[in-house]
C-alpha cells in the first residue's frame, strides 16, 4: 500500500548546517498493516512520515501509495489518499470552526468541494454517532467551537475526523506525545480500535518503545537516517523493551544516548 524506494533527504544542502536526514530508506507497508516507527531524535522517523505526507520532498527516491506514484504531488492532493493526525492537538482541528464544521471539512477531504452547504444531509447525525462512541459527551456539543475543547478531546476528534470518508491510509505523527499518560492511553486505545475496525493501513511514529511494541503488527527502528531494525509477527511478540535496547547496541555498537526512548 505504501512504498518508499531509496529515499534520500538532505536539509540545508551545501551549507554548514547540512543534515542528511534520510540516507536511502526503502520501506513497504502492505495493505491493512499497522506499522509503528521508532527512533531517537533526529533519526529520521518523522522525516520519513513527512515524505509520505508530502511535507518534505526527497532529493532522490520515489513515494508510491495505493499503486500511485506521488513523489511530486502537493500535500492537498495526497489528502485524497491519506489522512494525518498531528502531534500538536491544536494542529489537527480548526479551533475557529465548530466540531460539526470540522467534521464537514474532513468529510470533504476525499470528495470535490462545491457550493453546496458544507454541513448538510445526515452529517449532524453521523458526526453525533461517531462522537458518542468516545463517551466524552461531545455529541451534545456539535455547535461548540473546537477551541473550547481540551487537548485530549481535540486529539480524539482529530482522529475521528481523519478516518471519515474513504480513508485507507492513516499517518500518526507522535499523536499522543503531547497528552498526559491517561489521555494518551485513551487516544491510543481509540487508535487501535479504529484501525482494526476499518482495516486501515497505518503508520504511527512514536517516541516510546513500549508503545511501539504493543501497538500494531510490525515495528521498524530508524537510526541516523536508515532503518536499522524491522520486526513483525512472533519475532516481535517475543521482544521486550530491554531486548530492543540490546539489539540496538549490537547492531550499532554504541549506547543509546536518548533517554526519552527508555523512559517512554
Amino acid at each position: 500500500m505504501i512504498r518508499l524506494d531509496d529515499i534520500h533527504v538532505t536539509f540545508n544542502p551545501g551549507t554548514p548546517l547540512e543534515t542528511r536526514a534520510l540516507r536511502g530508506v526503502s520501506l513497504r507497508v502492505p495493505k491493512g498493516q499497522f506499522l509503528t516507527v521508532i527512533g531517537s531524535n533526529g533519526a529520521g522517523k518523522s522525516t520519513a512520515l513527512n515524505v509520505i505526507a508530502g511535507l518534505c520532498r526527497p532529493a532522490q527516491g520515489t513515494v508510491t501509495v495505493g499503486g500511485q506514484e506521488m513523489t511530486h504531488w502537493p500535500v492537498h492532493r495526497r489528502a485524497r489518499v491519506l489522512s494525518r493526525v498531528f502531534q500538536d492537538p491544536k494542529m489537527g482541528t480548526c479551533e475557529d470552526l465548530t466540531i460539526l464544521e470540522n467534521f464537514a471539512l474532513a468529510h470533504a477531504r476525499t470528495r470535490p468541494r462545491g457550493l453546496r452547504f458544507a454541513v448538510g444531509g445526515g452529517m449532524r447525525a453521523d458526526a453525533a454517532e461517531r462522537l458518542s462512541g468516545l463517551g466524552l459527551g461531545l455529541e451534545n456539543r456539535l455547535d461548540d467551537k473546537v477551541g473550547l475543547l481540551s487537548g485530549g478531546q481535540r486529539q480524539a476528534v482529530s482522529l475521528l475526523m481523519a478516518v471519515t470518508g474513504k480513508t485507507e491510509v492513516l499517518l500518526l505523527d507522535e499523536h499522543t506525545a503531547a497528552l498526559d499518560p491517561k489521555t494518551a492511553e485513551f487516544v491510543l486505545d481509540l487508535t487501535r480500535r479504529l484501525v482494526a475496525d476499518l482495516g486501515l493501513t497505518a503508520v504511527m511514529v512514536t517516541h516510546s518503545m513500549a508503545q511501539a511494541l504493543h501497538t500494531g503488527a510490525r515495528t521498524v527502528m530508524f537510526h541516523r537516517g536508515r532503518i536499522v531494525f524491522d520486526a513483525e509477527g512472533a519475532a516481535r511478540d517475543a521482544l521486550g523493551v530491554a531486548d530492543l535496547l540490546d539489539l540496538f547496541r549490537r547492531e550499532q555498537g554504541e549506547e543509546l544516548a536518548d533517554d526519552s526512548l527508555l523512559l517512554g
Binding site: 489522512s83 482541528t93 480548526c94 475557529d96 457550493l115 452547504f117 487537548g151 485530549g152
Partner: protein
C-alpha cells in the same frame, strides 16, 4: 448633526460597509492583510466611470466590470504571494502602486466626471423621494445583499475550506484544501467587492478620482475593528453584520468629530481622525483581549494539554 449629514453618513457607511466585508474576508477569514484595496477602490471607479462616460455602457454592467477589474487586481496580489512568496503586505503595496498609474491611463487623466449621465442611482429617481434619502436606502439594500451572499458562500463546502485555509493552513492542506488557490480566489473576491464599492462611490459623488483610494484600507479595517469590538460577532452572520454596522458607526464618529466645532477640526483632518480612531480601537481590543485570555487560562487550568 443635521438629518442631511445623518443620511450622508449612512450613504458612505453602506458603501464602506461593502469595503469592510472585503477587509473581513482578507484580514479575518484568510489572515491575509491585503493593501491592494487602496488601488482597487479607485480602479473600480475608474473602469466603471470610463465605461459609462466613454462607451455609454449600462451603469450596472459598468459597475460589474469595475468589480471584475478589482478581482483581477486582488488575484495578482495573491499570486505574487502564493507563487513567488512575496510578503503579502508588500505584494499588496506593489499592486496598489501600479494601479495608481493604471487608473490614470484608464481615465486618461486624474479624474473622470460623471455629470449628466445615467448611473445605477438614476433608476431610483422620481419616486417622489429626495435622492439624499433614497440613495442610502438603495445602498443599504445593496450592502445587505452582499452580506447575505458572503454569509452563504462561507457556509458552503468551498467557504468552509477557505475559513480553514486562513485559520489553520496545515490542517486545511491535510484535509485536501488547496490553500494557495483559496488565497487567490478569496483576495480576488475581497477586491471585487472593494472595486464595486469604488464604482458606486464614484456614481454617488459624480466623479472617479485617482486619489480616492487613499486611506480606504484603514477605513475598511476601522469598520471591521470598530464593528467587531462594539457589536456581537460570534458567528459569521453576526460578524458580517458587525462589519456593516461598524462602517456606519465609524462614519458617524468621524462626522461627529468634524462637527464638534469646539475641537476645531476641519474636513481635511479626516485621515488623522481615522488613524487615531483605529489606533484607539486596536489598543482597546488588545487590552480587552489580554483580560479575556487571562480569564480563559484561569478557567482551563486542568487542561491535560
Amino acid at each position: 448633526m443635521s438629518l442631511y449629514q445623518l443620511f450622508g453618513s449612512l450613504e458612505t457607511g453602506f458603501i464602506f460597509g461593502i469595503v469592510a466585508l472585503g477587509a473581513y474576508l482578507t484580514f479575518k477569514i484568510l489572515d491575509f492583510p491585503d493593501l491592494t484595496v487602496e488601488g482597487s477602490f479607485p480602479l473600480g471607479a475608474a473602469v466603471a466611470a470610463t465605461l459609462i462616460v466613454g462607451a455609454g455602457l449600462n451603469p450596472w454592467v459598468a459597475t460589474l466590470a469595475g468589480g471584475l477589474a478589482g478581482f483581477c487586481a486582488g488575484f495578482v496580489t495573491a499570486w505574487l504571494n502564493v507563487r513567488f512568496r512575496i510578503l503579502h503586505i508588500l505584494a499588496g503595496i506593489l499592486v496598489a502602486i501600479s494601479l495608481y498609474s493604471l487608473n490614470l491611463r484608464i481615465m486618461g487623466g486624474p479624474n473622470k466626471p460623471l455629470l449628466n449621465v445615467e448611473t445605477v442611482f438614476t433608476a431610483f429617481e422620481g419616486f417622489g423621494v429626495k435622492s439624499y434619502i433614497i440613495n442610502p436606502i438603495v445602498l443599504g439594500v445593496f450592502a445587505l445583499a452582499v452580506k447575505l451572499a458572503l454569509d452563504l458562500l462561507l457556509a458552503t463546502g468551498f467557504g468552509m475550506a477557505m475559513r480553514a485555509a486562513g485559520a489553520n493552513p496545515a490542517m486545511a492542506e491535510a484535509n485536501g484544501v488547496n490553500v494557495g488557490r483559496m488565497k487567490l480566489i478569496g483576495v480576488g473576491i475581497a477586491n471585487f467587492l472593494t472595486a464595486i464599492a469604488g464604482a458606486l462611490f464614484a456614481q454617488i459623488f459624480g466623479a472617479a478620482d485617482a486619489y480616492m483610494g487613499i486611506g480606504v484600507i484603514i477605513v475598511g479595517l476601522a469598520s471591521v475593528i470598530v464593528g467587531m469590538s462594539v457589536l456581537p460577532s460570534r458567528t459569521i452572520m453576526l460578524a458580517t453584520a458587525a462589519c456593516i454596522g461598524g462602517a456606519i458607526l465609524y462614519r458617524l464618529a468621524v462626522a461627529a468629530a468634524l462637527n464638534a466645532d469646539f475641537i476645531g477640526l476641519q474636513a481635511s483632518d479626516v485621515q488623522l481622525v481615522t488613524a487615531v480612531l483605529v489606533a484607539v480601537a486596536l489598543i482597546v481590543q488588545q487590552s480587552g483581549g489580554r483580560v479575556l485570555r487571562a480569564a480563559k487560562r484561569g478557567g482551563r487550568g486542568n487542561d491535560p494539554a
